[in-house]
Amino acid sequence: MIEIRWHGRGGQGAVTSVEMLALAAIEEGKYAQGFPSFGPERRGAPVVAFNRVDNHRIKIRSGVYEPDVVVVLDASLVGLVNVAEGLKPGGVLIVNTSKSPEEIKKEMNFRGAVTAVDASKIAREELGVPITNTTMLGAVIRATKLVKIESSEGPLKERFGRLAQRNINALKRAYDESKVAKAT
């Protein structure tokens, strides 16, 4: 089972990300769970959301404390909250940033693998808004190989209708433009 924690800010669509990833996983016959941090949320404030993906029915019904993957939707959160908290040894950190993955590693003093992509730039160019949830899904797919990139297209089409193609383009660009720094 893979556990993922998404960091974003209220209104950036972290919950939509977990929904889209869960949909892509079940498209492939896998099992998935997605949930927000439980409690009141405020626009702009740091929020988290979670995914579990497995090949078997998921029985666990409690919080995620030691994720395998951490995704950061908003670059300003690095340094503001400890995004690597509880991340398993050998886990993957995926960050929306204009910096290189090596720079992020150094800045955070983080030894694990880092995938970096300038999702804000891609989202501005492809979607016209700096909402990075669907874009970052491309980086997650690249870094984790959890689902095939094609499996995300159906759920995006259903969710975004006529805006789907732009989101798919953004997701594919993030997949291609992600840069990876290995664990050290």
Binding site: E19, L23, K59
Partner: protein, 385 residues
Amino acid sequence: MKRVVEGSEAVAEAVRLARVNVISAYPITPQTHIVEFLSEYCANGTMDARFLRVESEHSALAALIGTATTGVRSFTATSGQGLALMHELLHWTSGARLPIVMAEVNRALAPGWNIWVDQTDSLAQRDTGWIQLYCEDSQEVLDTIIQAYRLGELVDLPVMVVLDAFFLSHTYEPVDVPDQKLVDDYLPSWEPKFQLDTEKPCAFGPLVTPAFYMEMRHAIAGAMEDALEVFPRVEDEFEKIFDRRYGEIEAVSCNDAEIILVTSGTATSTSRLVVENLRAKGEKVGLLKIKLFRPFPVELVRKVLAPAKKVAVIDRNFSFGASGIFAQEIRAALCNTMKHPPVFGYVAGIGGRDVTADVIEDIYRRAKASDFPEGESVWVGLQEN
């Protein structure tokens, strides 16, 4: 069709599929997304139903008592403080023998303000004459809402379908949302035995003197007993069409178990994992899930628990001055059997504190290590000062 939905949406989908005619609700916290989805369905024509937005939960149920008395299928959803405000009318619903269905999202009661999971809100309503069914995942929630109309309409009693706040209400997971046609085959339209009808005028809710009141109450007690008989039939019919059933209770690995954990709600799901892991290490542990809480399936519970050496009940609720409420019920069910195991009561996860696999395993280890219960309830996971 398999979809990824939030638990709240699973409820709303079931209400749509049950062809409910009237939904009445108060939309403010501690309400959940359930009625948000339903108001949209009513507004955009997905459902051919009336959505009554009233001024309080008390009014929400009062309105449904009116609509159900006219013979139309009626639904409401609430939580925590909202359910507490409905209390008077909960009695009225069962007394009037109206098969209204409610989705009750377990949330803690204030003060302090807390919208997280805690079962004390619904369990505090155990004596109101409502059938109560506790669910562990969103598929079960959807299926149980549909079954609840069948069950309630067969025995003329209201049904509360209970689900954990957040762990179900706000969690997305795959759910099979059945075709309308299949649900129509399963759930016939409601034929009320009595209803407001201008052609056949009669009075409802009159004064009932001691000469009759006791018989009315006895009839409700009888209907609850009937519900125990009818429930398996309702599930048989459901299984034939949908290939799923849940049981009043479910015993997991109990046959040779020395210690049996008793759970309800989502703690059951996590406990399944804990029992699998402990079994793999050679521990003789079993799990009893309680789904049907009212009427309480005493005979079924006795049969599973009586042969065990110890019973450990996990309660996400508390009755002050007594103990965890499921533990009370289990003790009451067992005490009139000649030989029965001691019942260890553990209180965990109050007000949304997480009941993790570690917490459940800790409870098992504690029960294993003690010869006899230290008290009526042991609170697990309290912060040390």
